[in-house]
Structure formats: C-alpha cells, structure tokens
Amino acid sequence: MARHYAEHGAAEVGAANLVSAVVVTYRGFDTLGEVTILFLAAAIVGFFLKVNTRDNEREASLRKTSEILITASTLLIPTIFMLGVYIFMNGHLTPGGGFQGGAVIATGMVLMIMAKPNVKFNHKLLAFLESVSGVGFVVIGVLGVLLAAGFLDNRILPLGNFGSLLSAGAIPIIYVLIGLKVGSELTNILDSLKETQNEK
C-alpha cells in the first residue's frame, strides 16, 4: 500500500508534497477526525474558562513590558503571520500544511499577548472564523463524495500543472480552511487562558 502511494501519488493526486497527498486525499477521513478533536478541545476549554468582561481593574496593575520586546514585536509579528500564511498556502508543494501554518499563526498571537498584555481579541470574530472554516471543510468533503471518488477527494477541481501554486485540485482550498480554523481555535484557547488569570 505504501509502495502504491509512493509510486502513483504524484500522478493521481497532483501534489508535489506526498505527505499532504496522503493526509488530505488518501486518508481524508482521518483528517476529519483530527479537525473534530481540535474543535472539541477548544470548545471544552472555552466552556470551562468563561471570560468575564467586567474585569477591568486588572489592567492598571500589570507591569509595563520592556521596550526591546515592544519594538521587536512590531517587526516580528507581521513576519510570523506571513510565514504562517505561506506555510498553509503552499501546503501541497513544500513541507507543512494547514495544521503547521495554524500553529505558527497562534504562536504569533502569543508574541502579541506577551508584548502588549492589554490586547483584546474579538471573540465573536474568532468564533465566526472557526465555525465558517469548519463548515467549509465538511462541505468540500461532501462535495468530494458527490462529485468525485470519495470523501475529501481533491479531483473536484482540475489538477493543473505539477508544482505550481494552483495545482493539486482542491488541496490548497482545504489547507486554507484548515489553517484558518486551527489558528483561530488556538488563539481562542490562549486568550481564554489569559483572560481568566487573576480570578479568585
């Protein structure tokens, strides 16, 4: 079975990165299980650590962060976001993919929390982004069942030139949705942990 993937993977799926071809196309149902586990973990953490929006007296008591951190973070945070977006957009060409790109974006958010402790994340926007990405992922999977060979099959869109950015069918779209979903989920978890720090 592994020999079949290694020999025919590039021709059948059209993705230069064989690992992403296996994860998203040949074993797409397992990826649905992973996405479900992440969603459950984020939902449980959000349920247990409900954020109180009236904890405003805490802001004055935090020490001001050092100037090196603030200056460096204004340079580094956009670069880290761009690196994360690059990783999940080129998931079918270079090593990486949706989960890694989302984790890198969440690490950029951690740097923002450390440099500016009073930053407020818009929880509604994050929850909306996460839900829309999750539903989009399932919709593409079901489209794969309806229009092509199986769940999350990527041949619903044309395969294109091998190695270019718009190749490998629906894999770029799937990875963009997974990257947005994982990034917003992990940011939600971290922000819930940060906001409930000083509760008695």
């Binding site: 992403s20 990486g96 984790a103 690490t107 992990l186 971290l190």
Partner: protein, 80 residues
C-alpha cells in the same frame, strides 16, 4: 556523521527528560519539557520527516510550554 549527531541528541533528550521529572522547581521542569520538544524536532528532521518536525517545534515546544505556564500561574494563585 548524522548517526553521531542523532545519538548525541538522544542522550541530551534523556538527560533533560530526567531533569523534567525529578527537579523540585516546577518552572525548570516546564522549560526542560519544552527543550525536549525542540531537540525532538531536530531529531525528526534528521530522520527525514520535515512535516512532523515543523508540527513538533511549533506545538510541542512553543504552545505547550506557554499553556503549562498559564496553568502553573493559576495553581500558584489558588495555593497562596
């Protein structure tokens, strides 16, 4: 050459894991866990698995350590 590097990294991971288990100060234990994740990521790269290395570096040694520190802060507050 890469075999020597892999064996050396494996020994360092074992020593750091022992530090993470047996050290009294919890902050040092958490940081040792993060560094174990970092060296494991390099080891994955030597074994020709770049996707796993990227995942381990970002989640295992980045986000996991941060979450452990948040939880440690909450436990300390309720103990004092």
């Amino acid at each position: 050459m890469s075999i020597v590097l892999a064996i050396f990294l494996g020994l360092v991971i074992l020593v750091l894991a022992a530090v993470a288990i047996y050290h009294k100060n919890l902050k040092v234990a958490i940081i040792a866990t993060g560094v174990v994740g970092l060296f494991a990521s390099v080891l994955f790269l030597l074994l020709a698995a770049p996707d796993v290395a990227m995942t381990e570096a970002s989640i295992g040694s980045g986000l996991s350590t941060i979450i452990f520190f948040y939880v440690l802060n909450k436990i300390r507050q309720s103990n004092d």
